[in-house]
Symmetry: C3
Subunit: 139 residues, 3 copies
Amino acid sequence: MVKTETLEIATKGNCDIVDITGDVQRAIANAGFNDGTVTVFNVGSTAGITTIEYEPGLVKHDINAAFEKIAPKNGRYEHEETWHDDNGHAHVRASMLGPSLVVPFCQQEPMLGTWQQIVLIDFDTRPRNRKVVCQIIGE
Amino acid sequence: MVKTETLEIATKGNCDIVDITGDVQRAIANAGFNDGTVTVFNVGSTAGITTIEYEPGLVKHDINAAFEKIAPKNGRYEHEETWHDDNGHAHVRASMLGPSLVVPFCQQEPMLGTWQQIVLIDFDTRPRNRKVVCQIIGE
Amino acid sequence: MVKTETLEIATKGNCDIVDITGDVQRAIANAGFNDGTVTVFNVGSTAGITTIEYEPGLVKHDINAAFEKIAPKNGRYEHEETWHDDNGHAHVRASMLGPSLVVPFCQQEPMLGTWQQIVLIDFDTRPRNRKVVCQIIGE
């Protein structure tokens, strides 16, 4: 009734948006249930999960531009003053976006729109190997 | 153990906020389980799901005013330059809000606060007929 | 298969960020399942749930500074003009953050990163006693 699979996703950081829809579909197929939910969860505090129309305008420019208004890369963060690092904006953005997305599936297919993909957004300032848990509950 | 129902919700677009609490309650009742979770999922990439105190000040003005600061309707979006459309802000807002909300229910009632309603927010620039999946897992 | 526990969390309001990871871990242990998901849901419309690296720079300053850009405490809100209160920004922030977080667990442990804690963020303008539902579905 519960199956858990952990994806490993290489990212470039700096608001890198990675389409993981295919990976999530494979995790659903591997679980073998017809109907249920998949919880897609990013392990770590500088990346998040959402859905988007995966096209270059949004992915390469527009999403980052909006997050620059909320938590600019070159803003002042007490997190950075404490830890002497440079990713305060990444923590703030990730907490606001959220690490978790739950998607229903039916007949082993996630119930997404035609132009709606599941993405990992990595806000950190360097390439990372991310762990993304896909936990499937179904029957 | 898993029941799936798809709601059809007519919206006016332009940050139209629709109270779907009653629809979700009916989907829970139809499923027939006493306790469990309902996953409320918007199909498509220009609307999202959250909760709000459903009163006119927030619904008609305040929420849209906040999203105007993050992704203004008349801002510049590469999405629009590519596709020659006008809804770049709608995509950005929807990705930030998220398409999915999971609400626990007990004795067939969602465990909401008294002034907390489940809403669909449609950011697109025209009226739409939205599909919102209610998937109930329970016992 | 479904177990529901309601936490009572005392908060100070005004973007008070409370680490509830230990409470959620205890709720998972109480449920007695090995693997599954916990849905962490804030009852009410002026607080939300997310994850964060729980350290003072982010918790005492950076998160609030970002929300000030979206929904400033001293901004104008039609919600306040209608109800003659002072928490319009709290409603807007809570709707944007979202009331719900789903975390997978394995061997009774939530699959969080080392520096990733589950938090309740209370945006209201006064101390509150919050109800946070932990609903565990597993086996």
